[in-house]
Symmetry: C3
Subunit: 187 residues, 3 copies
């Protein structure tokens, strides 16, 4: 066999290559993001007097006898619909690159915690299309991971993880979320 | 080496093939749908008098002082739950192949725009199972893309894009959405 | 060619292997779960008197004139927000391994049927992270399939199907859902 050894080596190399290909494609997947983006979005809650500036409003609240019994406990059950500006930095007055549109609700009696379903709808020279998000937001934690469940346009069929952090808040009226988006499926 | 050239050529071909396999499986994905379906669904909003025919109802609205201040602005914050018939053509009275079940809410003060979370629950000889959808619906646009985030039964683990277009509407009571579904992940 | 047959055979084997690799990675996907988990979650609806024990509350209901006209029909339109304990067995008092947080609403006039959007937020020695779910829940059926649309932490980027079954219910106040989770995409 010794005179065939260059060919045998090459064979072995190809065989290994195929095995690696197979395992990469069929089983393991890369945890290195194929796309990384950071945005901020700004939520101004309607308080009855700021209809012009408000970007969100409470639309549901716990019913069943006394409306305030449960709602008084960390806003449990309050449902909020929002249409918030998205900016590239943490300045509310920066030119928005799109809108964060969706809803959240507070879902725990003991502490503040929320659940989010929303889209980033982009409308800028850099990005067109949308990203769709869903997940639990235990907002007392410094960072919270939610799922990027799909995308359209520039973000066709995207999947990934978005890490939320509360960049700032002012009482019950304003908060700003930093959104660190890592896509692991790009098309 | 010249006497080995047929083998070398074959080698080279296999090697190239593996490389292509690797890149296709690991990186690029086809933008050609593996399944294409078109349906219509029909929404009849409850107006207080049509309980028998209604397929949807407002279940939430902006709170905080004056309920009407924000709601007057393009229905901002109105949350609607629906159970709409799905048909194969644009006739409300065609035999339904399933039900579109979910919710939408209006989420912009300046223009009409909505956010949708719903399922197509099929129950026909042709299709069994469900498709689950989520995404922003800027309904003044002629077409809007939302995400197909999953499926069950005949649509096991499906992912894709659904393009919505308003096929017809009658005031505030009836609208019909054409839903052009392109699946890019089929199992 | 006869003197080259061992090499040719090997060639052929490698070629076949590549073809199989290609077809597995590019087209077909396994319907064998890469992970299988079973949990129970327990929902105690707020009835106006049980604020301490309640884990969920109605936050929306059909509006438009007479609030009761549609709501009387199988709770159509009732929106419920929940934060329910997750246990490994069917005992409400077992140590919870996490919380099921999200919302559901009843969406059919004729029979009981619901739509669910929620997360399993794990906090145990065995599991950290979250799973996100969405889908229709025709709850009069013995089993119902919904989509696992994403995950974080230990469930990074997961996708799959969850089969729900009503393990027990007590009138309008308590129900327990068995959740049989099969993941088909693991990272």
């Amino acid at each position: 066999m010794s005179h065939k050894s260059p060919i045998s080596n090459l064979f072995f190399f190809i065989f290994l290559f195929c095995l690696i290909t197979f395992s990469v494609a069929g089983k393991h997947r890369s945890r290195r993001p194929c796309r990384h983006l950071v945005f901020y979005f700004h939520d101004i809650l309607f308080n009855g007097h700021n209809a012009k500036n408000a970007t969100s409003a409470i639309v549901g609240a716990p019913a069943g006898g006394n409306l305030t019994t449960l709602a008084g406990q960390n806003h449990f059950g309050n449902v909020v619909v929002f249409d918030d500006p998205i900016t590239l930095d943490n300045n509310l007055h920066s030119p928005p690159v799109g809108r964060a549109q969706g809803f959240y609700f507070y879902d725990k009696k003991e502490i503040f915690t929320a659940w989010l379903g929303f889209s980033f709808v982009f409308n800028s020279t850099e990005h067109r299309g949308s990203l769709n998000f869903a997940g639990a937001d235990p907002l007392m934690n410094k960072t919270r991971d939610i799922s990027v469940v799909g995308g359209t346009g520039d973000f066709f069929m995207a999947r990934g993880i978005a890490t939320l952090s509360t960049d700032s808040f002012e009482g019950e009226v304003y908060f700003r979320l930093r959104t660190d988006i890592k896509l692991y499926e790009c098309w």
